[in-house]
């Protein structure tokens, strides 16, 4: 099974609505990264969470890491068409040595005006 499961796979919302994307890990998370990707392009860094219970916000996007450090959620408030894209979570399961990121399959977000 996947080390990192993202849900939902795709999401269509009306502009102005709130939405949540989830990322669940089968292993302890030493770092959880959220990125946005426009189709066929590179990844835009959004946020990185490390500590259990941590929450970070940037503009209308908030990300949380649960206390057990195995699940994270990304919440967008009052969505806009500019939020459309693919949201990817990436996990550091290494805890320091042999650092690398494992990625979920992504959530395709469509925001209808």
């Amino acid at each position: 099974s996947q080390e990192l499961e993202q849900s939902p796979q795709s999401l269509i919302v009306q502009e102005g609505k709130n939405l949540t994307i989830n990322c669940t890990s089968s292993k302890t998370l030493y770092g959880l990264y959220w990125y946005k990707q426009k189709y066929g392009e590179g990844l835009i860094f959004l946020m990185m969470l490390q500590k259990g219970g941590e929450e970070k916000s940037h503009e209308k996007i908030t990300a949380k890491l649960d206390e057990k450090k195995q699940q994270s959620s990304l919440h967008i408030t009052a969505s806009q068409p500019s939020h459309a894209g693919i949201y990817l979570c990436g996990a550091d399961h290494s805890g320091g040595s042999n650092y690398k990121l494992t990625f979920g399959k992504g959530t395709l977000l469509t925001v209808n005006p």
Binding site: Y35, G40, F45, M48, Q50, K100, L101, T102
Partner: protein, 112 residues
């Protein structure tokens, strides 16, 4: 953040040929990585590019197919050798700076 310049941004190549992708970072970084994103899939790590030593490859990736150079702390190249249509993907370089990880804009490779 880190400014990462990746070249080329896209290319269409004949099967059997090789393509070298360059990644230039705006400042020195210890850790650089190369990822592949196959159509409709998520990112998979190919290798960690180590300065002054051979790259460390992930399971399923070999140096003969994906040779990597890392001549200094701001630059790395990935070569995709003897290409086949199955190598059609987006290739991305990434750097780790403190606790954050940044990505280049990617190279969209199509092999015909």
């Amino acid at each position: 953040s880190a400014v990462i310049s990746q070249k080329p941004s896209r290319d269409i190549c004949q099967r059997g040929t090789s393509l070298t992708i360059q990644c230039q970072v705006d400042s020195q970084v210890t850790m650089m990585f190369w990822y592949r994103q196959q159509p409709g899939q998520s990112l998979t790590l190919i290798a960690t590019a180590n300065q002054g030593s051979e790259a460390t490859y992930e399971s399923g990736f070999v140096i003969d197919k994906f040779p990597i150079s890392r001549p200094n702390l701001t630059f790395s190249t990935l070569t995709v050798s003897n290409m086949s249509p199955e190598d059609s993907s987006i290739y991305l370089c990434s750097v780790k700076r403190n606790t954050e990880a940044f990505f280049g804009q990617g190279t969209r490779l199509t092999v015909v």
